[in-house]
């Protein structure tokens, strides 16, 4: 599936419309996405930082797309997640790359990294587990 087609499909999910991200790269084991900054995504009352929960949600969304994309695939069921917050995510676009660590018949494990200007300075990293059945 092309990134544009995947982005179009995302529009069906209300919460993904709320996040308003677009898929920019997609293959069998990777997905990359970009999300523009918006006031509704802010978490800190004083500084314009992204909400930590929004970063976790964005990475979860990209991780799910990474393990299951296609016209008639059921979305995978999220089991749990761990997020390591490394730096504040400031005003500006946010990027996430998700990589499948292992995908079996029942389970998938996906690693994610989220950055802004510099891929070598991630704002957060995550590990997500999904049930595929």
């Amino acid at each position: 599936m092309t990134p544009d087609r995947a982005t179009q499909q995302l529009r069906k999910v209300p919460f993904f419309q709320f996040l308003d991200f677009a898929i920019t790269g997609l293959d069998e084991t990777h997905a990359v996405a970009t999300m523009p900054f918006a006031e509704r995504l802010v978490g800190n009352p004083i500084m314009e930082y992204y909400h930590g929960g929004i970063i976790a949600s964005f990475m979860e969304a990209v991780a799910a797309i990474c393990v299951s994309h296609g016209p008639d695939l059921q979305p995978p069921k999220p089991i749990n997640l761990t997020v390591d917050y490394l730096r504040p995510a400031v005003k500006g676009p946010l990027m996430t790359e998700a990589t499948v660590s292992r995908k079996g018949k029942r389970m998938a494990s996906v690693r994610t990294t989220c950055w802004q200007d510099d891929t070598s300075r991630p704002v957060a990293e995550g590990v997500y587990h999904f049930l595929m059945v």
């Binding site: 802010v42 009352p45 969304a61």
Partner: protein, 161 residues
Amino acid sequence: MTQPDQKKLDQIARMWSHRGRGLITEMDLKIEKVAIDGVLVRMPFNPSFCADEEKTLLHGGVLTALLDSVFGLANFVAIDGISSMATIDLRVDYLRPARSQADIMVRAECFRQTRHIAFDSGSVWFDESDQAEVARGTATFALTRGEVSIFDAMTQSRVSK
């Protein structure tokens, strides 16, 4: 500082609600209980947080965001003189599908604080008869303590406006 009284706690909770912006405002959170040993918060059903077109299933990410927010409030209430806090890590287990249009309830507590670190845990369920737990999370926070607490800074900035 001496043990803060309930009036101070309620004041902190009101300030947190009024000064909230961004996602906190979108979630339309209602604080139901504030105490040193934990807080209870209600989030009304919001169709834009759903994972399906029929709008019957909340996206898991919303529960994660909710836990992170309410941990912030629990810290704010339980810890004296925080000038800033940052989430270090967050772990969430999704215990069952969040399939309901009922209000969501979150209970969170700061169960251990040191000078630099706060440890929190929390639980999420729908406000319906079985109250089955939908998600459970834990998080750690890095604290910066200073002369001016967030609470004081907010009070002062509000007065100056």
